[in-house]
């Protein structure tokens, strides 16, 4: 997905849109935005993590006067997946492909964090402070699928 000028905090960051698969002629419905910040750089944490940038809570029913769940306004959630994968053409990479080569453990970490990303972007709640992975840690274990 295209980013607007100033939206990305580094040239290596990729912006993705998670949505439903188009079905029966209906277009994809956007469900959330995911920024991938995967490469190491000076001053960046080396600890892999998923940060919620905007929680996907729906506005409270009372505040909208809505009686139908379909009328609840849901914020389009956004999250940043931060990792410390080897840079393209770094040690061990094939110069011709220009793509990072992952060790098995790094792949596990990446997929683990993507599990958190799904949780953050797909969760449905009206409670801002419990949206997605913003819950007690025991609640965010189920998303490690």
């Amino acid at each position: 997905m295209r980013a607007v000028p100033g939206e990305l905090w580094h040239a290596s960051v990729r912006k993705l849109c998670l949505g439903t698969l188009p079905r029966n002629g209906r277009p994809s419905t956007p469900l959330g935005l995911l920024y991938l910040d995967l490469e190491p750089r000076a001053g960046k944490t080396s600890h892999p993590a998923l940060y919620t940038l905007r929680a996907g809570a729906s506005a409270a029913r009372a505040s909208l006067g809505a009686h139908d769940d379909a009328l609840l306004l849901r914020h389009l959630p956004a999250a940043a997946l931060v990792c410390d994968l080897p840079v393209p053409n770094g040690a061990g990479a094939e110069p011709s492909t220009g793509d990072a080569l992952l060790r098995p453990r790094m792949l596990e970490t990446l997929y683990h964090e993507l599990g958190h990303a799904l949780h953050a972007l797909l969760a449905r709640t009206q409670c801002q402070h419990f949206a997605g992975v913003r819950a007690p840690h025991s609640n965010s274990s189920y998303d490690d699928l």
Partner: protein, 105 residues
């Protein structure tokens, strides 16, 4: 989407049942590693171990690491030539599409 505790419990139980056969295979691997390293498979008769394999919950991380090392051999880095980042992201997108009906664009 799960909307009540019963549905969540049913989903978790379903997942547990579906994963059980493969978990048993993995447990057999871990148990073999446990014996190879000199572990006593009968020690679990006295306390709550993971279903008769002698393996205790706190052994899992170490045994997984040791099993992985012996299966993959010394050079795990050898495998990384098959794990291009772009391909790995494509792969997980296929899983998202098939398992959850999601697309990434």
């Amino acid at each position: 989407m799960e909307s009540c505790p019963d549905q969540v419990c049913a989903a978790l139980r379903g997942l547990s049942e579906a994963l059980r056969p493969r978990a048993r295979v993995e447990l057999a691997t871990l148990s073999a590693t446990f014996r190879r390293l000199g572990g006593d498979v009968h020690s679990d008769l006295h306390s709550g171990a993971v279903s008769g394999a002698g393996v205790r919950p706190w052994d899992l991380a170490y045994l997984i690491e040791q099993s992985r090392a012996s299966i993959l051999g010394a050079d795990e880095a050898e495998l990384s030539q098959y794990l291009e980042l772009g391909r790995c992201l494509e792969g997980i997108q296929m899983v998202f599409a098939r398992a959850f009906g999601l697309q990434v664009s």
